[in-house]
């Protein structure tokens, strides 16, 4: 515990935090500038047949299109920070209203996937390390490698083919959440999307757990515990496991961050009413405010989770020093 200087760790966290904020600002500029390159007139695109000089002018004022670019950017960013995510062009409603329930839906999916997959992958990784090079280890390693290689939409569709449409017909192929209801009202429909996300995350966590566990099992610390005559189970669970978890947190955070992008395709496959589906729909509809808001949301999530990952690494690294 006295190995690191608290100021060093906090200093690191502070630096990474600042870096994260800078990155977010740059991303916001990137997203905003990109959307400013729209060919054509957004006001005309919205009004369509009802466009006349008066209504065009009014709409331009409403969308702040008459202001200089920099000012539009500031308006947008301050709005974001106050929770005002803009107004959807397609629905003519605040983005926050539109995505409120969708955010919940996506969160449920990711939370379920995380809660179910992480203990499972830790267990698999630990057991593989314990029974190293034996049958279970070989089999699980290869299976996890295969699953890690496949893109999510392939995994999702293979699951659909296996369980919903072609081989067996036991699960629904689509998991739409009707307006007004909650994901858990139709929990059967959540099985396949959650399974897909679990498969996306589990291999990496299991792999790192295995590697970390192997290192810990070979450490002097564990040797000592064994020499003390402790039963193998106690050694495994009380001494090896906690120390092996260190690098796993980082990977978990990285994977959760990765899921932020992964749900885009998975929600499309299952027609799930979450923010992944919302951003794809917004892209097809050229609904720029929604795209901007959701892109920033996902990017922010990604950055925050990556930050947590880095912080976790630093915080737990000393614990890996099991060499006496």
């Amino acid at each position: 515990m006295s190995r690191f200087r608290p100021t060093g760790v906090w200093g690191f966290i502070l630096r990474r935090l600042l870096l994260g904020i800078v990155v977010l600002i740059l991303v916001s500029i990137l997203v905003f500038l990109a959307t400013q390159a729209l060919p054509g007139d957004p006001a005309r695109a919205i009004l369509g047949r009802e466009a006349n000089p008066a209504s065009l002018a009014a709409l331009r004022r409403q969308l702040h299109l008459d202001q200089p670019v920099f000012q539009q950017y500031l308006t947008w960013v301050t709005g974001l920070l106050h929770g005002n995510l803009g107004r959807s062009l397609e629905a003519q409603e605040p983005v926050s209203t539109l995505i409120g329930s969708k955010l919940v839906n996506s969160a449920v999916l990711v939370a379920l996937a995380a809660v179910l997959s992480i203990p499972l992958s830790i267990a698999i990784g630990a057991w593989s390390a314990f029974k190293r090079e034996k049958a279970f280890d070989q089999a699980s390693s290869n299976l996890l490698l295969a699953l890690a290689a496949l893109p999510e939409f392939v995994v999702a569709l293979v699951l659909v083919i296996l369980f919903a449409t072609t081989v067996f017909h036991v699960l629904p192929a689509i998991s739409t959440v009707p307006p007004g209801s909650r994901p858990w009202n139709n929990w059967v429909a959540l099985i396949l999307p959650v399974l897909t996300l679990m498969i996306a995350v589990a291999p990496y966590v299991a792999r790192i757990m295995r590697a970390s566990m192997i290192e810990v099992l070979e450490s002097d610390y564990v040797e000592m515990a064994r020499l003390k005559g402790l039963p193998e189970r106690t050694v495994l669970i009380r001494h090896a496991l906690p120390n092996a978890l260190g690098p796993v947190f980082q990977v978990i955070a990285l994977n959760l961050a990765y899921l932020a992008g992964g749900i885009i395709v998975v929600e499309f496959v299952f027609n799930y009413s979450g923010i992944g589906g919302a951003i794809t729909e917004a892209v097809v509809n050229h609904d720029l405010p929604v795209i901007q808001a959701l892109a920033m949301l996902i990017a922010a999530l990604y950055v925050v989770l990556n930050l947590l990952a880095d912080v976790a690494t630093i915080l737990v690294t000393p614990k890996l020093r099991t060499r006496l």
Partner: protein, 301 residues
């Protein structure tokens, strides 16, 4: 998409870094493993299908050969799709446009990434920091999100997709290039060259570049297959330059509705992409294991 499968090899935080062994020798060594060979065979096969498929197809990609969604028959070995077109022919035609875009994107990323990575490694100062932070910003958005935003603004034109994919691939290549160049930059003969007055760009191209080519080629080929899967995913979401043409991703989208009736229309392209990415995963794993083995051997010396 399993972007982490390639980071598996290159990212120092998760897996061991590539040893400072000449890259091609690493590849050669890894070929001793059965998994690398199988992986290479799979990838090679699918890429071959993508390239010469159109010459082997029994029908054109848009020729109606039967009633929509009919079962496999002697006329159409894998049945017909939602418009009555031959599934097999469309699969054979469906890889080309994806492959072309992926190759262009990877080539672009290779040029940009190598330049940035080498310059950063060589500078070892504020320039290094700035460049790498810039790369971090690009990596701050999930790849598919970046591509989606780009397409949303400009439209699903081929060049937009190529540039977007290149933008997400460049930072990763830059990282590998920089990682591979750093140990070399520390070496004495670089300092000696500098002292002798050899111009910087010469050092970059003459000394650094050849030594980093090995790991770069490995990374680039992994990135290529990853880009193929990403472009197919974009097409699956409905964002491809030619929605009417045969394209693995678009085919999955068009035929997903009829999986219960005629699975081959969607299942075949799914299988193709699955084999491609499995192959990539096997190659990556083979290389990682070889590298780990080399490290372990080194450690025991």
């Amino acid at each position: 998409m399993s972007q982490l499968s390639s980071d598996w090899v290159a990212d120092a935080q998760i897996a061991p870094p590539l040893p400072a062994v000449h890259g091609t020798s690493l590849l050669r060594r890894s070929l001793k493993l059965w998994r690398t060979r199988i992986g290479l065979a799979l990838v090679g096969f699918i890429v071959l299908v993508a390239i010469i498929g159109p010459y082997l197809a029994p029908y054109g990609p848009n020729t109606p050969v039967g009633a929509p969604n009919s079962d496999p028959s002697s006329k159409a070995v894998l049945g017909t799709d939602y418009l009555g077109q031959d599934v097999l022919s469309r699969v054979l035609y469906g890889g080309r446009s994806i492959l072309v875009m992926a190759v262009l994107a990877t080539a672009l990323a290779l040029v940009a990434g190598v330049a940035i990575g080498l310059v950063a490694a060589y500078s070892r100062n504020a320039l290094d920091d700035t460049l790498m932070r810039g790369m971090d910003v690009l990596m701050a958005l999930p790849s598919i999100l970046l591509a989606l935003v780009a397409v949303a603004i400009v439209g699903p034109h081929a060049w937009v997709i190529v540039v977007a994919i290149a933008l997400t691939t460049t930072p990763r290549i830059a990282r590998v290039a920089r990682g591979a160049a750093q140990p070399i930059v520390e070496r004495d003969f670089i300092a000696a060259s500098e002292a002798m007055g050899v111009p910087r760009w010469r050092i970059l191209s003459g000394e650094l570049l050849p030594n980093t080519l090995g790991p770069l080629m490995v990374e680039a080929s992994l990135r290529l297959t990853y880009s193929i899967a990403l472009i197919a995913a974009l097409a699956y979401l409905g964002l491809s330059p030619n929605p009417n043409g045969a394209n693995w991703g678009t085919m999955i989208n068009q035929n997903q509705l009829v999986l219960a009736v005629q699975p081959w229309g969607a299942a075949t392209p799914i299988i193709v992409i699955a084999l491609l990415t499995l192959g990539t995963g096997l190659i990556g794993d083979g290389i990682a294991r070889t590298a780990a083995g080399i490290d372990r051997a080194r450690g025991e010396e």
